[in-house]
Point group: C2
Chain length 349, copies 2
């Protein structure tokens, strides 16, 4: 668990303090073309840093890119007492963390996540990695950054779609653990974010994830709760990909959250008021999935083949109410079809 997570919208000052206090041999910034253009110029603390740029996008999260970063670290004379500042979304923080962890058997690094999703992901757990043979994060190590600076400062550089996509995970954390937190999130206007307000919510969200991960670091039990919304969400995402209508991961998760809360209402009596509040927020911010009842069989087939599924059953986390969940619920196909019907109704399809 990373202990040194700093929540601050004074990113440049915070980074400056870290660099000043670390007695590092040199400082290197890892960026992609987006953060080089939009974020780097806002950080005077990196004015003298060597810059390594990698191409943006998950498709570039590869061993080849990793090898390129190592070559550049050699070229700029980095030592194990140098600091690598990973400035970007999940590709930069995951790949940069791996690069730092294995360069000369470990140099210092700091993560400055610039997307909402990376901020939630990069803050907890010390996971690094790259994709390999079509498998996500297949090659990687656990390595702790010297610090993670969580901020909302750079979210104005993100497309709305990227911000909303990350927000679905924040929403999920709240539903799992705190009705109060859930209610607060529903008041956030994602098209006009208040940076400091969002930072508070982000901090609360990371805290929830930390608590769950700390109770079950190796995902034997309750950590599976973090899969809420993802059984239906992954199926919607895969279906969209099969049909050349790719949707952002977080959009699919948002719809999946609604469907699985519908199931929670059907099976465990989740309060309808909170269900409607969630559905309203999701419809307003994420629109509706492009499915009809003709697609249900394929969607259910995809759910049965999810890696969380055991023996071809559909496996979901469900809730009695916000903050009270049960993992490993087996869902029959008819119930799932009803939930998808209701999801479409709620989304106004």
């Amino acid at each position: 668990m990373t202990r040194n997570v700093q929540y601050s919208n004074q990113v440049d000052a915070t980074l400056n303090t870290i660099i000043g206090g670390g007695n590092y041999h040199s400082v290197v910034a890892l960026v992609d073309e987006n953060t080089r253009r939009h974020v780097l110029p806002r950080l005077g603390s990196l004015a003298n840093a060597a810059i390594i740029e990698i191409p943006a996008g998950d498709v570039n999260k590869t061993l080849d890119t990793l090898s390129h970063v190592w070559q550049e670290l050699e070229s700029c004379g980095a030592t194990r007492r140098s600091l690598l500042v990973n400035l970007g979304g999940g590709v930069v923080t995951d790949l940069g963390g791996m690069a730092a962890a294995a360069f000369k058997r470990g140099m210092h690094f700091v993560n400055v996540p610039t997307t909402l999703l990376a901020a939630v992901d990069a803050s907890v757990g010390g996971k690094t990695g790259v994709n390999f043979m079509g498998l996500k994060n297949e090659i990687g190590v656990f390595a702790m950054p010297d610090a993670v600076i969580v901020s909302t400062t750079f979210f104005d550089t993100l497309p709305q779609q990227e911000l909303k996509s990350g927000f679905a995970e924040v929403l999920k954390h709240a539903i799992l653990c705190s009705r109060d937190e859930f209610q607060q999130l529903l008041h956030i206007d994602l098209s006009h974010i208040e940076k400091d307000q969002l930072l508070e919510r982000l901090q609360a969200s990371v805290k929830i994830k930390e608590d769950i991960v700390a109770q079950d670091p190796t995902e034997q039990g309750i950590r599976k709760a973090l899969n809420l919304g993802h059984t239906v969400g992954h199926a919607l995402e895969s279906w969209a990909m099969e049909n050349d209508k790719s949707v952002p991961h977080g959009y699919a998760v948002a719809w999946g959250l609604v469907a699985e809360v519908v199931l929670s209402h059907m099976k465990l009596g989740f309060p309808s008021g909170d269900l409607y509040s969630l559905a309203h927020f999701v419809r307003e911010n994420y629109g509706a999935p492009a499915i009809t009842c003709d697609h249900y069989d394929r969607l259910i087939d995809l759910m049965r083949h999810d890696k969380k599924s055991l023996d071809g059953e559909i496996n979901c986390t469900l809730l009695k109410q916000c903050g009270s969940f049960t993992i490993d619920n087996s869902i029959d196909a008819e119930s799932m079809k009803s939930a998808l019907d209701i999801l479409r109704d709620l989304m106004g399809v």
Copy 2:
């Protein structure tokens, strides 16, 4: 520090117990063409293991080979609950350790070093890695194997030269820390090794290294003592390479040990009796380096550019007697030339 080092010449039985007790999903053996032919058939405990072969030799200790091992691990369906058994010299244990450490963010591994040098190296410290851009072990991580089985069982599969090369490091440990141990080593006949006798000495040697490393894990101070013999040794090795007369690393270290003990005698009064015993043993087992006094200037130049050197001085560890060393001695060129003269005399050149 690896706690689970097992000293045993019953390697198959020991490995069988480890495999039986580990509840592993599957077992995979990493070998090179030599250990596949000469060692693997002697280990019934690996009869059902999947086999991954890499080409022997330091030149193959690369990212490409590492990537090949990861591909093969995928192909044979290894999981993070599988066990990788690294069966070979330093290339196999270093590269295999790195492969295991980063596969799915860490699978289990056991090192079975089959060379004397790998046994001394692989037993302590959890270092893994591959070469990169001409730099040794430039990319790697610290990762602890489930166990290391140190044995002398397979040394009969090694060329004499390989065995002698590794023995120079064993000799070095003894000189640094224990006159008793040093005396015992001088009675070992490297052309007719008694496996169990050598295993005892190997255990003592690893213990010495462990003690030094534990006192100074990051090589700020006394761990530098482990460089004894290497200032002159590396220069002899580099000089030989420049002149197409490449010598095994351990041979150069053995000659370097004599030269630096000569310096210790000159500067700190190291007892001449022990110096002559060492010189005799080295001459008998390693012969003499092919240098003349015409090569001294180039050798000294190489020593000044050693990475241990600060500001172009020649830096050596010296001894008052066996077991009493001082690090960071600066040696002037004239003294070094005298030491090289005496080295050549003692080696019978």
